[in-house]
Symmetry: C2
């Protein structure tokens, strides 16, 4: 559903692209999130994000994890609390800095995420299956170009 706004060509095009981009991202995430919740009772996208980060980065402190998945400190605390409850991760005080804790995957967590990840990848490939290889690359390039705006 395009915007009802009446403005310059540039304005309308920008608004419409923003809407399409937001819609597409939300749709994909919704589908991924639904599939995830079905595959592992009520696991959420943010919890998955932490597990994924730990799988690839290895044990990390909360600050690093927050930076990796772009969430705030308070949020990380909650998400990790809930993952701890599920016994997917454990926290240990960092011997080098007692303010910090090192978060790592438990055996259970490792088993889950390494088992699930290929299905996750499969799902994502499926989400972009309507695009050609060239289009996929171009979409990535354009998103990166837009997202880089504030890095200058």
């Amino acid at each position: 559903m395009p915007t009802h706004f009446k403005g310059s060509k540039k304005e309308i095009e920008s608004l419409n692209t923003f809407i399409k981009m937001t819609r597409a991202t939300e749709s994909i995430n919704h589908r991924l999130s639904t599939y995830l919740a079905e595959s592992c009772e009520r696991l959420t996208v943010s919890q998955f994000g932490i597990l994924e980060a730990l799988l690839h980065l290895g044990p990390s402190n909360q600050k690093e994890l927050g930076r990796k998945i772009l969430k705030t400190g308070g949020n990380i605390t909650l998400v990790i609390d809930n993952l701890e409850k599920r016994n997917y991760v454990k926290r240990e005080t960092d011997p080098n800095d007692r303010r910090a804790s090192i978060v790592s995957l438990t055996t259970e967590g490792k088993d889950f995420i390494s088992g699930y990840f290929p299905a996750h990848v499969e799902k994502i490939v499926e989400e972009f299956s309507s695009l050609t290889s060239e289009e996929l690359k171009e979409l990535g390039r354009l998103c990166k170009k837009v997202g880089m705006k504030e890095n200058n």
Copy 2:
């Protein structure tokens, strides 16, 4: 930060594009949301979304609004409750269907949203200013193509 995943070319490209797309959308939304909260004390993106929809569609029931901004019924109730508290919207029972309520902008809400909206547009134009006209259109086309996947 690209994925650490080792897989086929298609898989890696899909994952990377997904990450870029998500990152870009979140960045833009974060900046818009910050600007919005500064412009009107603690107004949230979802509240703005309802106001925007009402500005363009006129008085609507909650179901329509939920469909327009792609949020669930329970969430709409909360967001509108909070907008009502700010006296930006009002609810009236629909005379044709007593289960439903018609939500409309108050004078205050109308003043705010019609005054703020041009700045919102300006911000979005700015967010996409790194793209050429052609790129902007192409980004929109690709996002639409991806997002349409589940409409078949």
